[in-house]
Amino acid sequence: MLRVEALSKLFGQGSTNEKRALDKVSLSLREGEFVTIIGGNGAGKSTLLNCISGVHESEEGRIILDSVDLTFYPEYKRSKYIGRVFQDPLKGTAFAMSIEENLAIAFAKGARMGLRPGATKKDIDLFRERLQLLDLGLENRLKQKVGLLSGGQRQALTLLMATIVKPKLLLLDEHTAALDPTIARKVLNLTRQIVSEEKLCTMMITHNMKASLEFGTRTIMMHEGKIILDLQGEERTSMTVERLIEQFEKRSGAELDNDRMLLS
């Protein structure tokens, strides 16, 4: 489904601070595969997702999604195939617009823009039905501004917006990191539910080692712009958090420096 071929990304090219954020990363995802990505600070996790979604342009390599070469597409064109939820709950929605209007924009993805009504009655019924699945009571607040919602509610809404038109690839960049633990758990469960129902090809960055093994079907560990561990199948089911940390230190030759990863 997704094929990333020898993708490299340099920051500060030519300066003394030049940093190879991605170093010839190759990765291939099958249809319906749900990959969790872990790694320390500056490992290149977000850069990988940002290069795939087109926020950053890559310097080398290819990105092919469902046999379409996305490498040279601008960000907005790639978004027709890719759904995204960001770490910052403010990034995924338009705060001065209503829940209904936000969903209408997401629902129009890929369709012709034009001068048809923003949201028809039929659309709104569908939005209400989908919002019920979130179990946050948002279905009764369609006309309210998104700015009034809490971070967790916004992330749940953004998740719904990212998947309301079925994407070929769903990218989740630590989308629960800014939430308190109870809400984070709820959004994670919701993610699992939507991904498995729609059989979405998904990449999820998480700082939570336990969640990285609990959720998804495959786990990738990154370090200094490279994939240093790729766990799937039998090997993954028998993996524990302790052994994962052990593996990390062995393969990266570094101590795990990320307290967030260890503590959660």
């Binding site: 907005y76 890929g110 001068l115 923003g118």
Partner: protein
């Protein structure tokens, strides 16, 4: 204030309200202060006067709109394609338009319309006497208000509004934000040029300097409207902009009435806008000072 002066400011307010709606589109929906307004207002005026001179007052209004859209597109392209800051992009367009407007006016700094038919004089016979100008400009304003409201409730309109809120979200929804900024600024300056075109025909002349400070008048109208009439729903906001524009005219008329020299107008406009825009921070400062100067319950109990 005499009834006649009142009616005059009302008429002006209604025509300027169209310009204020345009400023609302760039300033509020796109969240982009667009200074090309000063130039596109005169562009609209110049085009409509030249067209009146050739005997086409109504067609003049339409062509003015198209010209305004073109001017807005230039600003948008400077900003989106050449990555020039929005403020500077607007200033560049405004500057270029000054020369262009003089070209439209065949190199003359002002053109009076003497014994030419305008949209207002054309309808003089058919619409009831003294109120002809008021009725016609109100009708045009209402049509523009309705069109803008309907547009902002289409799919395209939704995305346009979201662009001012959160460009990242719009790109993640598969829409090119550059095109949205182009559409928004074109629309905005189309409104502004129409307003200029109507003003020119209303007062029967165009002057190349008539656009100076126009963007400030637009901002003042938007802000006064918001403060006085609220921002509850979209329709209410649009109507508030119109009422703000009329109110601004009435304030100015009143200030002139009590003896302010007309040359002080721009200074007063600038002060009004500066005050209105800094209102939130001023309020905060005042409440902070109050707290600082007041005694705490503890201090009060210390009193002998």
């Amino acid at each position: 204030m005499t009834l006649l002066a009142l009616q005059g400011s009302l008429e002006l307010g209604i025509i300027y309200a169209i310009m204020a709606l345009g400023v609302f589109v760039s300033f509020r929906t796109l969240n982009m202060p667009d200074l090309s307004v000063d130039g596109s207002f005169v562009l609209g005026a110049a085009v409509s006067v030249v067209m009146c001179g050739n005997g086409h007052p109504f067609l003049g209004l339409l062509i003015a709109i198209v010209a305004g859209c073109g001017a807005g597109s230039i600003t948008a392209l400077l900003h989106t394609k050449l990555k020039i800051q929005p403020l500077l992009a607007g200033i560049l367009t405004m500057l270029a338009l000054y020369s262009l407007n003089l070209k439209v006016m065949s190199g003359r700094a002002n053109i009076p319309l003497i014994n030419k038919t305008t949209v207002f004089s054309a309808l003089e016979g058919s619409i009831s006497g003294d109120y002809g100008k008021l009725i016609l400009s109100s009708a045009i304003l209402l049509v523009m208000l309705l069109l803008l409201y309907l547009f902002l409730n289409t799919r395209l309109g939704f995305v346009l509004r979201a662009t001012g809120d959160n460009e990242q979200m719009v790109r993640a929804s598969g829409v090119n934000t550059d095109s949205m900024i182009l559409i928004g600024l074109a629309l905005s300056n189309g409104f502004v040029a129409l307003s200029g075109a109507l003003i020119a025909q209303y007062q029967s002349y165009v002057d190349v300097g008539m656009g100076i400070g126009m963007v400030i008048i637009g901002l003042a109208s938007v802000i006064i409207g918001e403060v006085v009439f609220g921002i509850k729903s979209l329709l209410r906001r649009l109507i508030a902009v119109i009422l703000g524009a009329v109110l601004y005219r009435l304030i100015i008329a009143f200030a002139l009435e009590i003896g302010m020299p007309a040359t002080d107008l721009k200074l007063v406009s600038a002060v009004i806008v500066a005050l209105a825009m800094s209102m939130p921070i001023i309020k905060k400062r005042i409440s902070f000072m109050k707290r600082k100067l007041s005694k705490t319950p503890y201090e009060r109990s210390e009193k002998p």
